[in-house]
Symmetry: C2
Subunit: 139 residues, 2 copies
């Protein structure tokens, strides 16, 4: 692709006690922390009023991608386009998850529901908004 | 911030007939097109089965940001941290919206609900997933 590149910078990182490659469901069940860059802490003001946040992260362990993937990595499933899947191995390996906010202390957000490994760069945090994020059906 | 930069590349662009800076609500009501880079079209296979997609885009018109913002740009509202707002003027000006898929033809997705201006670079398209995207309340 000859499209011009866009540069983003992590606003923080995921920290979680275990770095084992546990399954998706274990990652989502276990609480995790997001360490926000200390310079950006004023940007967290008032975030504690939200129960749910959208976290955008960069799947830094991903190397390369295929345009056709097996859904959920299950080879018994017929392939589909990567944009019709949630595979992290995609042209831009961006992850996107709605998490529950458990607490905020200084530059540390404690969350549950985050399917990101220890050390994952976080690019953005937004309050969940029914206007922008509400879906009704995923087929 | 001294965090290492991350480079992403647009997978396509938003095209919409009018480029006037209309309000958010007008943008969301009007259908829009996403032109996917022709090389990536195989990645769209099977996307037509989804009624709702999550679109991640880069708000390319944004210049700079404040860590504290007035919600919805309303100066009568007390400021809050930018991560407790959906302001597009944020450290990484990433936009994120659940849209309805109206149709797919070749490399063109017709969608409704997209609050992005003509020419906006699109970074990712994912099927809406209740597992990752379902929120129940935003307070």
């Amino acid at each position: 692709m000859d499209t011009p590149p866009i540069t983003v910078r992590p606003i923080g990182y995921v920290r979680r006690p275990q770095n084992a490659c546990t399954g998706l469901e274990e990652l989502r069940q276990a609480p995790a922390e997001i360490l926000v860059h200390p310079e950006l802490v004023p940007g967290l003001e008032g975030i504690e009023r939200f129960q749910q946040l959208v976290v955008v992260f960069y799947c830094h362990r991903v190397r390369g991608f295929s345009l056709r993937v097996h859904p959920r990595g299950d080879p018994s499933q017929p392939t589909r386009g990567v944009f019709a899947s949630r595979s992290p191995a995609r042209p831009n390996p961006l992850g996107l998850t709605v998490v529950s906010l458990l607490g905020v202390e200084g530059n540390v957000l404690r969350v549950r529901g985050l399917d990101a490994l220890d050390g994952t760069p976080v690019l953005d945090i937004k309050p969940f908004s029914p206007t922008f994020d509400q879906g009704t059906e995923a087929a």
